[in-house]
């Protein structure tokens, strides 16, 4: 009797120790990869227990982003848009045809606040180079009438442009995230990726009930965030931020940022410092964040968000922020420097 009780106790203790070992080592495995793509940084965390599978998923993401860049870049001599801008017409790939059609549609729906036919103006400012500079006012004036999305003609896969150049800067990373999603969704493995700050989260985060995405603190260094969004997408969710703290230069004691208003030709000047958009598509997340930054916080911007089933966080230079209803529960402030702006639509 005594012997069997001792054996039972030993067994129970061994079971307990077994669970302790399993429990303490029970952290979700993931593979974290980083590379350069589209002139910025591509990073991804892929969550399966099989490292080889994670590598395969990253390889698919990486290839999709690089292929998107080969279609959308206006600086790579081998890219389709570069050739289109140079020659005025091309027989385009199905991918480029589809992305341009979608982009034109999104730009039109947003009242052309964001416009992909802005290429000549962005070249004038040199934001695609390492040495951007303030152009002459007369040169900017000259370019304004030439910004016209109607001058992009799509006939099947034949694409032609007239007097304009295409710059996908405002939508390109979102389009590449869409391509990455299409490339890996069949694997059904949860992952989160960032391409130059445009984020795609897919599936359920195995480490918790949601993905946690920091929103950069515009007043602090690049890795700082003032709030987090806790998102639990049923499928995929895209998050994009436009901020006037990115790609800046200072000339004659004035700092200029890269978000150009296609209607004035100059960097947008309003009370906003950043806009973050959460959307079911990469292109719309990117386009909305730029368009809303340009348009400001008003009824029109909120209607635009609704029409794309998207939500947003507006951050102002005076360290106030406004969050749309659908994100209120997901947003958690991590800095006490920021105050909520009680914006009333009416």
């Amino acid at each position: 009797m005594k012997k069997s009780a001792a054996t039972l106790k030993t067994l129970m203790l061994l079971c307990l120790l077994f669970f302790i070992v399993i429990f303490s080592g029970c952290q979700e495995k993931f593979t974290e990869k980083t590379s350069f793509a589209m002139g910025s940084i591509l990073s991804a965390k892929i969550f399966s227990q099989d490292e080889q599978l994670n590598e395969e998923v990253f390889s698919l993401i990486n290839s999709a982003v690089r292929n998107a860049d080969k279609a959308l870049s206006n600086t790579d001599e081998n890219a389709e848009i570069y050739t289109l801008n140079k020659n005025g017409g091309i027989q385009a790939s199905d991918y480029l045809t589809s992305v341009l059609s979608d982009s034109i549609s999104v730009c039109n729906k947003l009242g052309r606040r964001v416009d992909i036919s802005i290429g000549k103006l962005t070249s004038l400012w040199g934001f695609n180079t390492e040495t951007p500079s303030l152009p002459k006012a007369s040169d900017i004036e000259e370019q304004l009438p030439l910004i016209d999305i109607d001058k992009i003609a799509i006939d099947g896969n034949k694409i032609a442009i007239e007097d304009i150049e295409i710059d996908m800067g405002a939508l390109g990373k979102g389009a590449a995230c869409d391509a990455a999603f299409e490339a890996v969704k069949h694997k059904d493995i949860p992952f989160i990726m960032s391409l130059g700050g445009t984020v795609l989260a897919f599936g359920e985060n195995p480490s918790g009930s949601h993905w946690t995405i920091g929103i950069r603190d515009p007043f602090l260094s690049a890795n700082s965030y003032f709030a987090t969004l806790k998102l639990a997408p049923k499928n995929a969710v895209f998050v994009s931020t436009s901020g006037s703290y990115e790609k800046t230069f200072t000339e004659n004691s004035k700092t200029y940022h890269h978000i150009l208003d296609p209607k004035t030709g100059y960097p947008v000047e309003n009370e906003l410092i950043s806009v973050t958009v959460v959307s079911p598509s990469g292109i719309t997340a990117d386009a909305l964040s730029t368009a809303l930054f340009i348009n400001g916080l008003n009824a029109e911007s909120l209607v635009s968000l609704k029409s794309f089933s998207s939500e947003a966080v507006f951050v102002f230079k005076n360290k106030t922020y406004y969050v749309t209803d659908g994100l209120k529960e997901a947003l958690e402030l991590t800095s006490s420097d920021y105050k909520y702006l009680d914006y009333n639509e009416n």
Binding site: F23, G39, T212, S221, A222, Y225, T228, K247
Partner: protein, 124 residues
Amino acid sequence: MKIKDFFKKNDIIIIFAAILAACLLLLFSKNSSEASAQIIADGETLYNINLSDVYNTYTVTLNNGVEIEISHGQISFISSDCMGLDCVNCGKLSKPGDIAVCIPNKTIIKLTGRSSKAPDTVTY
């Protein structure tokens, strides 16, 4: 047989000690934010440094001319020939998930490790 007859005092001490050890292990693993720094240039990982093991501040100069300062728990770009100096302006990295990039020189400093507080990524 009653439970108190089955378990002796020593058994109960062992069980409580094991449960306590499990709780401590779990707490430690959740709150640990010990960071390792990876320095990657041209897609190749050149250094993997456990920053908590660094006690003296030193500088590494890469073949591309980029200079990186490493100290206890911190790492940063301190010099680069790129125009915007975005990499240097990133300041000191200290938390898992922090990243600084010199795009013209294709150099990345990335802090890995687990931290219960760090977000999965940051949108900017």
